[in-house]
Symmetry: C2
Subunit: 328 residues, 2 copies
């Protein structure tokens, strides 16, 4: 590849290859190598970062402000860390309206308060008109480890849980761009996952927030790390009515649509039942479901398989090309 | 102000007001309030962040890669912290040449190795053509506190030290844009200030890296925090021959030009002499100089004064409007 293409930023296979070949190989160190959502630092700290370039900056269910807090908070939560401190760096395009900026800043404050994190340091850059698109935001997050993910303890029979309906953020952004001239009730699921923190003490072995690349990509990447294949049942994957309607009309696979407030959790059978009970009590995850399990009979190591509604088996590949750029 | 203007990003007075009124007031907390270059977290940690949007991305003396490491490293050093870990978040414009990106990544690695910091986590976003300008980079840095700056212990008679000639980064960027069709030997001073860390144990009371807004802005901001005015002597401020020549031709005040490898240090008279001795031994700061002192006879509290070569006194105001956007 001679030039960087949009696909590099899609969260899919090309991005994984880019990160492996161009980033990890260059900066090779033991903190970076595990490629989890956050780095585990000495003394029980975790550090993570994300830049947010979402377009449009205001969308049903959220805005770039709530997204830049929740996204980074969630990366810490699924890494086993309680989010504590955020940095906030703004790259603003000259000419953005002050009321829009103020609305975003208030949204950041509201989201930070909701998750119990403090914005402790920051940076502001302004670039000339035409050298950004309204505003890009970077947050880095520091959290305190409660427990470390234990993918090495995942075994056949362990259950795969999804904490709620998938695809809402991706579809909300897609429709907000109005490319399809379609009205819909779909709202982004953008929300903090801090309510999942107690699950690290209830037997969760692994968690991942479902973002770029969607559920299929997360499952495929997880399978890549395990000695055993994964199998999920299509009919068990929660989808909202609005998503069902829209994806049918548009012919989009909801398993590749991003979420910003959902996670995948793996736990032993007994623990999974307790975790599901806990999730169903929480309004943010009352549609949580066990969607499948780690296999020792069906599939080969490295594979994530989907049993379709018609009973067939489909291999879930990671997203390869960009569904839409600037989803988060 | 109804729209964000380029001046907000200049490091000058408008930026200070924006940060005070729109950021600190909204996110009001005890970590953010001191507005130092880094936030002081519990357990002796410091956190800082900066986004880098420099144009051009390659310039004499450095590139956006060395800049995004050294800038964040230096913010930690002047906050009294030994830099340990960096996050790295790339916002890449579709179409940037892979060899350019690889060159930048290697430059990041080299700079990180030189400063002894590890890149431990990251993020990659790609935005469509025309929605960024080649590449913007954010780094957040975590450091371990050696000592906390003690501006409250600064008293009349304390000395003001600058660690080397000022203005080189700003002028190098200005000339690299080729707006002046002028050739020059000026190179950016972009470099890590980690060699200053031992000075925290040698009596340094306060340090600040001289970046956007230049020496004049840093002095003016320092004076704003102190009970006593500052006085510096123009003839003692180190300037390289190349800078002297260029600023004369262009009619630019070098005191408002950014550096990326220089710091201002305040220390008591005795300690300042020892600090100067230490600095002069180091090749990176052999042109260090004591340029002035904290006053109790000349000026009023809050003032930073310059005694000009002709003997007059000039009040140093913080930069108010943008010299040039995207300097760092």
């Amino acid at each position: 590849m001679k030039q960087i293409s949009l696909e590099i930023g899609s969260g899919g296979r090309l991005m994984q290859e880019f990160i492996r070949d161009k980033i990890v190989r260059v900066f090779n160190n033991r903190y970076l190598k595990p490629l989890h959502d956050a780095a585990f630092l000495p003394e029980g700290l975790a550090l993570t970062t994300d830049s947010y370039t979402v377009d449009p900056i205001f969308f049903p269910g959220g805005d770039i402000g709530s997204l830049c807090v929740n996204g980074t908070v969630n990366d810490l939560v699924v890494s086993g860390a309680r989010p504590e401190f955020l940095s906030l760096a703004l790259i603003i395009e000259e000419g953005i309206d002050m009321p829009d900026l103020e609305k975003i800043l208030l949204s950041i404050k509201k989201a930070a308060t909701r998750s119990g994190v403090k914005i402790v340091t920051g940076d502001t850059k302004v670039v000339p008109r035409g050298q950004a698109d309204r505003i890009y935001i970077n947050t880095a997050g520091v959290g305190r480890l409660i427990s470390r993910p234990q993918p090495e303890r995942i075994n056949p029979g362990d259950k795969i849980i999804v904490t709620g309906p998938v695809g809402e953020h991706g579809l909300a952004i897609m429709l907000a761009r109005n490319n399809f001239r379609m009205s819909s009730k779909v709202r982004s699921d953008c929300a903090p996952l801090t309510f999942l923190l107690p699950l690290w003490k209830k037997g969760a072995l692994w968690m991942r927030d479902i973002t770029r690349g969607g559920l299929a990509t997360v499952l495929s990447e997880l399978a890549d790390r395990l000695k055993h294949p994964l199998l999920v049942e299509e009919e068990k994957i929660p989808l909202s009515r609005a998503i069902r309607g829209a994806v049918e009309i548009l012919g989009i696979d909801p398993l590749y649509l991003a979420c910003e407030g959902r996670a995948l959790i793996v736990a032993g059978e007994k623990e999974a039942a307790q975790i599901l009970k806990y999730l169903k009590k929480n309004p943010a995850s009352r549609q949580a479901a066990i969607i499948g399990e780690v296999q020792d009979r069906i599939g080969r190591p490295g594979e994530a398989l989907l049993r379709t509604r018609s009973g067939g088996l489909r291999l879930l590949e990671p997203l390869t090309s960009e569904l839409l750029p600037r989803i988060c």
